[in-house]
């Protein structure tokens, strides 16, 4: 997730806009939960190459996302409010942060059995101890923020 979104935003965020994000989050949370990709067991199954399920989910999501992104670019699709859609490149320097950060994330992904989206869904799913995991994830982001100037990127 990048948030380096440069989309200009109305100075006052309208409540309706925020409700839309809430609704999209709810839909996403339901999909993540019902497809069982928030399951620690399913993540273990994936890293052991013992089921196609996770690969099917990720693969078909990327395929649909890629075709959609291509169509948006090709036909210069606008946002609902009529603004041009900016699809920014992911910042890339030497790749150190993708390799080191990515691998670090992967260690945590297999340990907790969840990435950030599923962590939120698990919390809603009643696994209360996930609150600690999320808190520690925020601490990890905080640590990165402070260490960023001295880490290779």
């Amino acid at each position: 997730m990048t948030t380096e979104s440069t989309t200009t935003e109305a100075p006052v965020l309208r409540a309706t806009g925020m409700l839309m994000y809430l609704a999209m989050g709810i839909v996403f949370g339901i999909i993540l939960t019902k497809s069982e990709v928030i399951s620690w067991f399913r993540i273990q199954e994936m890293f052991r190459f013992q089921s196609f399920h996770m690969y099917g989910v990720i693969g078909s999501a990327v395929l649909v996302g890629a075709v959609s992104t291509l169509l948006i670019k090709r036909f210069d699709v606008k946002t609902l409010s009529g603004d041009p859609i900016e699809i920014n490149d992911k910042p890339y320097q030497r790749g150190y942060n993708q390799w080191f950060g990515g691998t670090t994330f992967g260690l945590g992904w297999a340990l907790t059995g969840a990435c950030p989206g599923p962590l939120y869904a698990l919390l809603g799913g009643g696994v209360s101890v996930i609150a600690v995991v999320l808190f520690c994830a925020a601490l990890g982001a905080l640590a990165y923020g402070y260490l960023k100037p001295s880490l290779p990127h």
């Binding site: 965020l13 199954e45 890629a66 490149d89 923020g145």
Partner: protein
Amino acid sequence: MLDVLSQPWPWYIAGPLIGLMVPALYIFAGKAFGISSSLRHACAAVLPSKAAYFNYNWRQKGLWNLIMALGIVIGGFIATTLLANPNPIALSDATITDLSALGLTNFNGLVPAEIFNWQNLLTPVGFLMLVLGGFLVGFGARYAGGCTSGHAITGLSNLQKASLFATLGFFIGGLLVTHFVYPILF
């Protein structure tokens, strides 16, 4: 209808729906889909910080992402109550065999109840998996510039080299833990 929705959703339904989050967010809001930046926004919102990384207008840049994260929590609640699947997850036999060999016995629910509980937080295994694991997820996602949603879904959908390397990194880390750390841990 609820009966159908209550069944586990197969990958060919769930995957394309997740993929549609990408254009939906572009078209409805002009935003790039991603979740892990919510962790950064939460830090920026809560802590007055000297680090440049947290000095930006989080309301303008990140409030939408935090609201979406809240929505995911609510979605998780709805899916496990209204749409709850009464049966255990249909894991492959090979996985159950492997995890049983590690000493796990309870395969009900979304997470292993033997590990994911408050009492376990201060045991070595619980601390490593929940506390350190959570830290690594947050640190790694921000260091890599995205998580599975931002890099593996949105970034790969946009054919980004950075996202390909990050996603390969995700799997390298995951495979290391699964095949080298877990056998030692349990």
